[in-house]
Structure formats: C-alpha cells, structure tokens
Amino acid sequence: MSHLGIRRRTLLGLLGISAATLSSRAFAKAPPKIPQRFLGLWHANGWRVLPRDHPLYDDPQAAMELDKLFFPAQKRAPSYELASVDSPWPDAIAPLQRHQAKLTILDGIANPAMAWGEPHPYGAMTFFSGAEPLAGQMSSGGPSIDHHLSMQNRSSLAGLHVGVGQRVPRVRISHAGAAQPNLSHSDPRAVYARVFAPLIESDNDQAQAKLAELRRRRKSVLDQNAKELNALSKWLSARDKQRLQAHANAIRDAERRLDATASEHETCKRPSELPKINPYLDADTPAISQVMLDLLTAAFACDLTRTGTMFYGYGTGSFVPTWLGGLDPLHVMSHWPHADPRQSVYTATLGWISEQVATLLDRLDNIIQADGQSLLDHSLLMWGSDVGSGQLHTTQDIPVILAGGANGKISTGRVHSFEQGTPVNRLHLTISAAFGASVQRFGEERFCKDGPLRDLLK
C-alpha cells in the first residue's frame, strides 16, 4: 500500500474518466462526523445448520453432531456470551474467534421472501432486500439494505459490489430497487479502475481544467435530462410516471454524488499495484480475495463509498478450492452427505472463507479513525447465505454473523438464539435503526410486523 497524500486528490470515477486530472474546488472539509459503513457479506450454499424442527433434531445425538460444525460453544441455544466459550471454535469458523468481542452470531433467521423460488438464485438476490423476487425474473422486488443505507448517507460512489469465485456472469445480490440490480465486479482490475485509478494528482493546471470541463459537461447534461423528464411526463399515465420517477431519482442522486469528495484522512491509502489475475481461475481465488479485501478496506478508509457487498461463490456456479486440495466446486461439496469422508475439504473451505472475513476484520480494526475508534467499530458487516444447510436447501435457520457493531449501536460478543423462522427483514429494520435510517417496513410488509430485533440494539 502506498500513502496517497489525499489532500490534493479527489475522485473522478463518477465521471468515467481515467485521465490524470483533478479539480481545485473538490476539496471539501473532512466530514464533521465519522460516517458509518455497511458491508453485506455473503457466501454460497450455507453452513451445515439445519432448522431446529428438522426430523434429524429429534435425535439429540445427531443434533449435537450438527451443532458442533458451526456454533462456537458447539450448541445453539439458549443465547450465550462468546467470551464464555473457553474451547476453540469449530473449524469452519475458527479464524473468527480472534474477533469474538466484536462479533454477533444470530441463530433462527430465515429469508421467507425467497420461499417460492429455487434457493440458489433467489436466496442470493433476496437476502439483503427481504423483498420477493419479481415473478420469473432474476431480480429482487425491492432495494437491498446496503442501497437503502447508501441513500441516507451519500459518498461519491453509491456502493462497491465485489464477488470472489463465482463462475456465473451477472451476479446480483444488491439492488437499487425492483428490477434494478447492482451488478458485482469479479475482476479486481475493474474495481481498481472504477474506484482508485482516478484518484490522482491534481497539481497541474491543465489537469484541473480537464476535470472542471468534464464536471461542467456532466452537470449540464444531467440538468437537461431532468428538464426533459419533466417534459416527457406530461404524456404519461400515473404508472409510467412512476417508472420515470426512478430515472429522475437516479439523476438527483448522481448530481449530489458529483460533489462528494474523498477523505483527507491519513488512513486513506490505495493499493499500490494489482497483480495480473484471472478472476475465473480457481488457483487464483485466494489472491483475488486478498486484493478485493484490500480494495474494500481502502475504499472505506478513503470514504469513497460507505456501503458495499461482497460474496464468495454463487449458487451452483462456484470456485473449486484447489489450493486446499479440493476437486469439487463449493456447491457440489455442500451437497455431500454428513457421513461423506470428503467432508474435511468442505470444512476447510468454509474455514478458508472465515479466514478471509477475519482478515478483513483485522484490516478494518487496524485503521484508527479520528476519534480513536477503529474503522471496524464504525462499521457493520452482515454476513449471510442463501441456505442454512447446503445439502438440504433449508431456508429456515440461516446463520447470520454481524461484526463491528455500527459505532456501538449494535450489541456484540454474543450468540443470539431467536425463534426459528425470524424473518431477515427484522434484521434489516434493526440495521436501518442503527444507521439512523429507520423505516417501518423493509421488503415484504408481512415479514416486518414484529419490528426490529430489540435484543440487538443498544
């Protein structure tokens, strides 16, 4: 990582240019308040956690065997403090143990919004939105929580969406609204080009003039677009007007973000060089993961974005963990029966994913903000999946791991055992409240009727 000397730099990514240019009037003062960051984390095919009403749970011995695979104290209920666990955590989540004070593990969460669809595609696209997918379409029926939070607190980029190890194109877990997916980047170089390459020196007059010119052009175009939308709307029915409204909102949002600037804080560093990586090569997956974690950390540290999503694997099209000796894709491994002798490779793969998340937590925790708290403390990471048990495609009791505590708004250090089938929508309400963006409903209204999860809010 090289220090950026951010004082004389700003973001051009929004302008879609890569020339070395910069504006003199783009230097806003550092925001008076340290912003909260949100990252939606997600991995494909779940853990090995079955719903508590599953027939297998009728057998206490079998239940214990299963609980051992995921829960820190090898048991799931009642709720308990993570600090009270004196044994090593199960291999699948062992790397997270070093962050136990800043973690919250939720048991009992379900994603009922996806219930009618096949869980792999639909579980992915609805997890962060809690809104039923559009019938037969590859889109959530509403915005995702990361997008909701990004609209409350605008940084120059609306959100950074990255994926590691998916083998299908056009993955969508974040949505700006119904039929408005925010597609994820799988190539780190694309992320770099979009987010960081435009962060550049601005000391020469020519470069400043170039930026000013592009900004003028973009502003006048957006302004003209907005006027024309108004003119168009007089020919439209109420329903068409609503469709046009999404366009108008996007324009207003783009105008506001045009003036957002990067942080001047000294913790803002950008990754120096990107190795040449093939995002679809299994053996390169660990390297891609490390670079993506760097990029995310830096984007947060530089306040280029305050929200994002990141995922490992996707549905039925995921990486093969060749570096762990694996021969099968994640999805295939997740379907192995409990007694399959190859389970150790699957365990190692889940452990590897946990290690990636733990590394991200390390990095965020090492960046100290102006108030002496770490970047992790000012963030909330919400980690979920499409299913609880990949083998049986169960959509009840999908474990959710929270990290960071959102600036002390969310309690940490505990395993919370909620009633089976607690809709993830209630967690979205909780997080909205913790970010000062409270809403009465998020996603489907019928899954919100019991309100936020009060136990989690401090």
Binding site: L183, R216, R239, R243, A246, G315, H338
Partner: protein, 559 residues
C-alpha cells in the same frame, strides 16, 4: 412439512439446478393449474403457491418502486388492480433496448468507426431472463444504468469530437456562423435521435449548453458536450405512449421502425411522417412492405426468435467446439430461409442447413427443424448433460404460450445423481414415479424427451452412455395431443396446432407493443391469428398485419 424423506442427511444429491430443471413454473391453463396444485401440494406450504399463481396474470410492476425507499407498496395482485381508477393506456412508456441503441447510433454517426461506438456503449441489457428485452416492465432506470448511459454518452461525444468538427458534422455552409452551425447540428442529429423535429425550446436549451461550454472550453469540448447531451437525452432513450396530435405521424413512424427494424426511422419513413401521409393506410402498408424487404427486418426477425426461444442474454455461454458467432449466424440464416418460404410448415419443419463447412463438421447427423437447431439444444442444456426439462418448459411456455407453475415451496427437489450407466431420460424417471412431481412434469418432460437426440452441445447422438437414445415424446393438454418421435414429428404436430399459431401471433404482437398482452388486445389478436392460417405468405402476412394495425397507429386519448 418437509418430511417426505426419512434420512435426509444420507441422501446424497438433490435437485440442484436452476428453476428450469425442476420445471413447473406457472399454472398451465386454469384447469391444468387446478390439477397441478392439488397434486403437488403436500402440506401447509401450498397456500403461497396459489397466491403466486393468481398473480401471474398481473405480474408485479418493477417500475412502481422508485428504488429509493421502501415506502411504495408493490403491486402484487388483484387488490391494487381494483383500486386503480385510471384506465391503463394501450401503450406504455418504453425504453430503447441496447440493440436499438446500437443500431440507432451506428446509423446517426455512420462516419464514426462502429467499433468506437460499440466500445463507448455499455448499456446493461434487459434484466429479465424470460421477457422480451423491450418489455416496458423491466426497463426501469437504476442508478447503475443511469451511470452507464451518462458514461456512454460522454464517450460517444468525445469520440465524435475527436474525429470531426462542428462544421463538417452539421454540413453547414462556409458562410454560416458558429451558432447557425450548432443549430443545424441540433436540428439534424436531435431530429434523428428523438424521431421527430426538435422543438424551439429544445433547440434553445441545447444551444445554451453548447454556448455555455464554448464560453469556457474549446470548440471540440463544446461539440463533445453537445453530442453527449443529445445522446443521453430521455427523448432518445424513451418512446412515449402519446404525442401532440400534430406529431402523431412521427410517433407511428417511430413505433414502426423500432418494431420492424429495431432501429430509427430512415429518411423515407420520416418523410412520410412529416407530410402525414403515413396516417393513410395505403401508405402505411407500402412503408411496411418496403421495410420488411430490408436486411434490417431480417436482422430483427432473427433477434425476435432468439428472444422468443430464449437463446440469448445471460444464457449464452462458451461452446467448446463450435464458433459461437458461426452458430448464431447459422441460426440467422435458417430463420431467413424460413421467411423466404414463408409458411408455418417451414417454421417448424424446414431442415437446418448448417453452414459453413467449418461449423457443419461439428454437427453431423439430422437437424429436421428449428427446434433441432444446435442453438436450441445447446443453450437449453446443463453444462454436462442435456436438459429435457428446460427444453420441454421453453416449448410449453414460448411455443404454446402456456404458463407453468413454480414448484410449491415445500417440494423436495431430489434427483438421483448422473450415472455412467443411465441416460438422462432414465434419471428423470423420478418425475414420473413421484406423484407430486408428475402433476407438472407430465406436461413438460415427455415433450422435452423428444429432443433427446441432441446432447448438451447441440450435437446429434444415437447413444448416451452406450445405451440407445430414446427420443419418443408425447404432447398432453394441447390441441395436438399424442405421441411423436423426435423433432421431425414434433414439428409436424406444431404445424397442425391452432394453439401454436395463436401463440406465435401473441408473441409477435407482444414484441411489437413492448409489453405482455392484455384484455384490450383480444380483438386485434383474433384478427392476427387468421393471418397465420393462410397456406402461403403466412409469416410475413402476420408482420404486415401487425405493422398496419392499431398496435402501430393507435392514438391514445388525451390525459
């Protein structure tokens, strides 16, 4: 619930694939839906499946959420239909598809290298897997697509300004002033992109943009900014449902060219709009016939069948042997041959002629009809085995226009793993044995089995895993029920089916309107169905009939 299996942990393999493999998407016909619902619901979970099926006739409108908050209720069914006082207009606000944008910009900036435009344009394709790309419901602008439009417009502005100048581009005379040239440019390029004359206030706004930039920046920058503004304009990207009465002919011309060409009106069509002769049915007919004779129409017809048979978009993937673009070209050539013969018979039974030799060598064997084209069997397959379920479901949904029901939420989608000693067909026997599967899959699987002579790469085969291929199929719940063997006999049945004719008319009309059909379209649809019963010229007649119908000419009442 969920207790069909006694020892779930020991069951090795589930039905893991995407929706297509498990089939049963939406209710077939009302009477079919009853049967499937009863057969497949095992316990408490069935009520939500029923909810879903009742809402398929009024699919939720993605555009009804602004995307910024969660406050807007989503239209999920009958309740909101009743509460809606406003009469739904016949035409809806449509956005140009990526294909239409490419075609339009290639035409307007014809002097610019096509690759430059293609590089600059990065508009995301439609998000829907199953609807036509021009379906208004799925064309909502997201912040991401707005950013793409803005970036693309800027890049095109830069590309234009770097290769030419205002004077050359506007074609204004030596004696003209800078302002006059700018005006000429706005009128000519704006007129093409907006598919109507640029109004006085619009001319003034764009001129103001140009002047403001010129006051601070170079001439090239001002030109780039002006082009950028025109290309990003909502008037270019949207086709509104109505216009001022005096401009209605322009709207008809735009609908016609976007339908028949996926492109902007050309000079002759614009002329007919300008002098309003296009509103005369004879002129309209002549224009439609002229346009259908153009290669642009051939390209559009190919694009229609790619979308109708769900061969494009996200489904396109790597073919290990054949050149993908050759396959696509061969598909286009086959469609063109069908339209030359212009009969329903040709549509479903004309043997595929795979050319050139470098493509044909990968595909030995028989390909007797459109559904035997390797594009179809290759795209509708799993990575390592054929997918009779997906094939059957696509034919059911897209060729017969049956809506299939999604599997109920509590269904256990268990399939035996691929076995080296069994055929794909044998693996799916479970669908027949398990009554909860059979209810839906009896509609899908026997149809898809008829295509089993084509493997996951679209190649003809006589054996799978050293066992002979069984491509006997059967049609049930159609107007041409009964057994058939292979694609050749399936094609014969499709030719005889009145349902299939009606479906084709429905698909084309929906494509022309850019939306699913509704009750108000019934009368027109009935007229169109008649066209297809003709022995000769049926396929083109249908297009001419749509192009000269109210779908193109309708003038919405004033708001």
């Amino acid at each position: 619930m969920r207790k069909r299996h006694s020892h779930p942990i020991t069951l090795g393999w589930l039905c893991l694939s995407a929706l297509s493999l498990v089939g049963c998407l939406r209710p077939v016909a009302p009477q079919q839906a009853q049967g499937t619902s009863g057969g497949s619901s095992t316990a408490s979970g069935s009520s939500s499946a029923t909810d879903k099926s009742s809402s398929t006739t009024s699919t939720p409108e993605p555009g009804e959420s602004s995307g910024n908050t969660n406050e807007q209720p989503k239209d999920t069914g009958t309740n909101s239909q009743e509460s809606k006082k406003e009469v739904t207009p016949r035409n809806e606000l449509r956005r140009l598809t990526p294909t239409q944008l490419h075609n339009a910009l290639h035409g307007v900036f014809s002097k610019l290298d096509r690759t430059k435009i293609d590089a600059a344009l990065s508009i995301p394709v439609a998000y829907s897997n199953d609807a036509f790309a021009n379906d208004a419901r799925y064309q909502v602008i997201s912040p991401e697509s707005l950013a793409k439009i803005q970036d693309s417009a800027q890049a095109i502005g830069d590309a234009v300004a770097s290769t030419t100048n205002l004077r050359a581009l506007s074609g204004c005379s030596e004696a003209s002033s800078e302002t006059e040239c700018a005006k000429a440019l706005i009128v000519s390029i704006g007129g093409k992109l907006f598919r109507r004359p640029v109004s006085e206030p619009e001319l003034a706004s764009y001129l103001a943009i140009y002047r403001a930039l010129l006051a601070k920046d170079s001439k090239a920058t001002a030109l780039a900014g002006l082009i950028q503004a025109l290309v990003a304009s909502p008037h270019f990207h949207y086709l509104p449902p109505r216009a001022a009465s005096s401009q209605h002919a322009y709207l008809v011309a735009a609908r016609l060219s976007l339908f028949l060409w996926n492109d902007l009106p050309d000079q002759a069509l614009t002329q007919a709009a300008q002098n309003r002769s296009l509103l005369d049915s004879k002129v309209l007919l002549a224009q439609a016939q002229r346009m259908l004779a153009s290669p642009k129409a051939t390209r559009m017809i190919r694009d229609f069948y790619i979308e109708m048979l769900r061969l494009g978009g996200m489904r396109v993937r790597f073919h290990p042997h054949a050149d993908r673009s050759q396959l696509l070209d061969s598909f286009g050539a086959h469609i063109a041959r069908i339209y030359k013969q212009d009969t329903l018979e040709a549509l479903w039974t004309l043997p595929v002629n795979l050319e050139p030799e470098s493509l044909a060598e990968h595909f030995p064997g028989q390909y007797p009809g459109l559904l035997a084209h390797p594009m179809f069997s290759w795209i509708h397959a799993k990575p390592t085995y054929s997918d009779p379920i997906a094939r059957g479901a696509v034919i059911r949904e897209q060729v017969f226009c049956n809506a299939l029901r999604a599997p109920p939420p509590d269904v256990q989608m268990l399939l035996p793993p691929p076995r080296p000693d069994a055929t794909t067909r044998e693996r799916f026997e479970i669908h027949r044995k398990d009554p909860s599967c059979a209810a839906c899959h009896s509609l899908i699987d026997p149809l898809g089995f008829g295509l089993e002579a084509y493997d996951h790469l679209g190649q003809y085969r006589e054996q799978e895993n050293n066992k002979p291929i069984d491509d006997r199929g059967a049609l049930v719940a159609t107007d041409v029920n009964g057994p058939f063997q292979g694609v050749a006999q399936l094609g014969q049945k499709l030719v005889q089916s009145v349902d299939v004719q009606g479906c084709l008319a429905e698909q084309w009309l929906s494509y022309a309107l850019g939306r699913p059909l509704r009750g108000i379209d019934e009368t027109l649809l009935d007229e169109l169905r008649q066209k297809l019963s003709a022995k000769e010229g049926a396929l083109t007649n249908l297009l001419v009939a749509i192009a000269t119908s109210s779908a193109m000419t309708y003038e919405e009442p004033k708001l």
